[in-house]
């Protein structure tokens, strides 16, 4: 197991270098002036780009530039974002909790609905519930985030007026901004509201999360549902399940302990892809719902040619995915001993 972990950990710097190198080569397509933006730390410096180009030697060969850039990145300096008017790292620190909150809430239906309905469908193969699940998964899988998000907003905000875009109602925005007693522990609004004992803020924040969470999770849960169904069907037809049944074990125990546990392995594999889907989805969902997270910022930055911001976002998400894949691999090794020794 230790060797397995070590081998996986060694891959981390390799991927880091690969990702940053690819980004750097891409940036070489830009002029030094455009690239200078990535090194600027304040608004005033934007007017002195020539000095910055000579200062940071931005017309050097790419490998020298790459070395210096990596040096900065490792020290935690990703440049200055024009869109958010502050350093990129600070923006990521400020906005990441909001995105994390959205993603954490989205994981509940993704895993809950996906695994639960997939199991129900497999256990009732070709019966009514299976057909319903299949149709739901195909329709859900075909609802692109940007269409679903817009439709949900039109129905629940424009038409019914039940839910609003944004992160919290305006009256709470102004109240919380001027309230020194409201302390931010995690910067995740729902958690902080509970920790401050403000149940009204909590309810309001959750109401704002409903639509983005649905938008974000429908495609992913449909995918999990499909994989769960087919892998459970596969597991149910295995010899060890028949043996367990022949031994006289009750059906529930057989499905729970023998079949479902093994059927979860492909689902764990899929969770890496789910994370990628969530990151892709967050960029669009946050833009539609005007939700102040990383995705909204990245989309704004890309349309405003804020190179430093988009590069910083790309490096950050790449590292997040790599670390998550590492965890998935480790989990995989724990669940399925065959992987460890392969």
């Amino acid at each position: 197991m230790l060797v397995f972990i070590a081998r996986r950990l060694l891959l981390l710097p390799v991927v880091f270098i690969g990702v940053t190198l690819a980004l750097q080569l891409l940036m070489q397509l830009l002029t030094p002036y455009q690239r200078a933006g990535a090194y600027v730390q304040s608004e005033q410096q934007m007017n002195r780009l020539d000095e910055i180009i000579t200062l940071y030697r931005l017309d050097d060969p790419w490998y020298l530039q790459y070395g210096r850039w990596i040096g900065q990145v490792v020290q935690g300096n990703l440049g200055y974002s024009r869109v958010s008017r502050q350093p990129v790292v600070q923006t990521i620190i400020d906005r990441f909790p909001a995105t994390l909150e959205l993603a954490l809430f989205a994981i509940i239906p993704v895993i809950g609905v996906g695994i639960w309905m997939g199991t129900a469908a497999a256990l009732n193969r070709d019966k009514f519930i299976d057909q319903v699940t299949r149709v739901m998964s195909i329709v859900g899988w075909s609802l692109p985030t940007f269409v679903l998000g817009i439709w949900l907003l039109v129905i629940f905000y424009g038409w019914l007026g039940w839910l609003q875009p944004g992160r919290v109602s305006i009256r709470y925005v102004t109240e919380l901004a001027g309230n020194p007693n409201f302390r931010y522990y995690t910067k995740m609004l729902t958690v902080d509201a509970l920790l401050n004992g403000r149940f009204d803020v909590f309810v309001d924040a959750v109401k704002h999360l409903i639509l983005p969470v649905i938008t974000l999770s429908v495609v992913q849960s449909a995918q999990i549902m499909r994989v769960m169904r087919s892998s459970l069907l596969d597991a149910l037809s295995q010899d060890y399940v028949r043996t367990a049944k022949a031994k006289g074990l009750p059906g529930r125990v057989v499905t729970r302990k023998h079949a479902r546990r093994n059927a979860l392995i492909p689902v764990i594999t899929l969770s890496g892809f789910v994370l990628i889907g969530l990151i892709n989805g967050v960029v669009i969902t946050e833009t539609i719902f005007n939700y102040p997270g990383l995705g909204q910022w990245a989309a704004q930055a890309a349309t405003n040619l804020d190179y430093a911001a988009v590069l910083g976002f790309a490096v950050f998400t790449a590292m997040m995915v790599v670390v998550a894949n590492l965890l998935v691999d480790l989990l995989y090794g724990v669940v399925d001993p065959r992987i460890r020794y392969a």
Binding site: V19, W141, L143, A298, A302, L305
Partner: protein, 346 residues
């Protein structure tokens, strides 16, 4: 020449081909496909979109600059709807670029309903005809899908087969590189690439191709590794064929099949990624017939007018419906193919 005769004598090959053509419709796979109603629905939906894309000029009323560039004057201006006229086929096969510009019914800041604007599905803000945008957007969608899949397939086949055939250090480096790209969120990477290259529909296609090829390379490599071990490859090598000859004549034709199927089924998701980027404002310029842009118009018209909350429903409904139907069609088709190719998964 000598080994071509050895490995594939003509008459036998022709007979086998005729037999397999006959056998295809009666084969288990084709039967399973035809018996699956969802698969047939998917096929019909995709086919309908192909028809819509190919005959877009006949379905829509072309704009003024498009008519001008087709060389049509006031008294011949409906010739493009008549298949007997050459201009019909010119509009179908090589329409001038101006035909992709959505004609504007007035320049009103508010969207207008079908009745008010005299169009089939209404207009968006700025008077862009929704129906025209969606029909010609289908053309744009297929163009993006085919070009992106074509480019990434070519790159994937070349790199994948080299990687599988040569092996060694080259294989290792190439595959680690594909691993890195596959493990990144494709929308984010495409976002970076489009931003750096500058926003346009060509750069959008290039960006998506750059994130799409690694999965083909990986698949191709696996197929080549499988085919490489076959006896007919060994005998070709033993007969003294040069490596390139072996690759092109024996390995590629036998390894390429699954790749073509996977790639053609990817057209749906490629179109979706392109629409997503375009929705974020990284696609074509305003007014170009493109689905992502059509639905992004809806972002400003979520709220209706006082007393009529759904006043602008058509701005978000129709583009959304078209995109969902398109994706649904490809997904049904893809699902059916997976069932046919891998019966274990059902």
């Amino acid at each position: 020449m000598a080994d071509a005769e050895l490995t594939s004598p003509r008459p036998v090959a022709a007979a086998a081909k005729a037999e397999s053509r006959n056998g295809f419709w009666r084969s288990k796979a084709a039967q399973r496909f035809r018996r699956n109603p969802l698969a047939v629905v998917g096929l019909l939906v995709v086919f309908a979109f192909v028809v819509l894309a190919v005959f877009a000029p006949a379905f829509t009323n072309l704009g003024r600059s498009c008519l001008r560039d087709l060389g049509l004057s006031a008294n011949t201006q409906y010739d493009y709807k008549n298949p007997a006229k050459p201009v019909f086929w010119r509009a179908v096969f090589s329409p001038p670029a101006t035909c992709y510009q959505i004609p504007r019914e007035g320049f009103a800041a508010q969207p207008r309903t079908a009745e008010a604007s005299g169009t089939l599905l209404g207009t968006t803000s700025g008077g862009y005809d929704i129906f025209y945008g969606l029909v010609w957007g289908t053309r744009t969608a297929f163009r993006i899908g085919l070009i992106v899949v074509g480019i990434s397939l070519a790159v994937g086949i070349v790199l994948g087969s080299l990687s599988g055939y040569i092996g060694g250090v080259f294989d290792n480096i190439a595959m680690r590189f594909t691993d890195v790209i596959i493990s990144l969120p494709n929308l984010v990477v495409a976002l970076v690439i489009v931003m750096v290259l500058g926003k346009s529909i060509e750069n959008l296609m290039l960006a998506i191709a750059m994130v799409a090829w690694p999965s083909y390379a990986r698949l191709m490599r696996g197929e080549v590794l499988r085919v490489k071990e076959q006896d007919y490859v060994n005998s070709a090598i033993a007969l003294g064929r040069r490596p390139l000859g072996v690759i092109f004549r024996h390995v590629l034709p036998n390894a390429i099949g699954p790749l073509i199927i996977v790639a053609s089924l990817d057209i749906g998701s490629v179109v979706l990624t392109a629409a997503a980027l375009s929705f974020l404002g990284l696609g074509a310029e305003v007014g170009y017939a493109d689905w992502g842009q059509m639905i992004s118009f809806a972002r400003d018209w979520i709220l209706g007018t006082p007393g009529n909350p759904l006043a602008y429903w058509y701005v978000s409904f129709w583009p959304g419906l078209i995109i969902v139907l398109f994706v649904l069609g490809w997904n049904l088709l893809g699902d059916a193919f997976r069932d046919v190719l891998d019966p274990r998964s059902t």
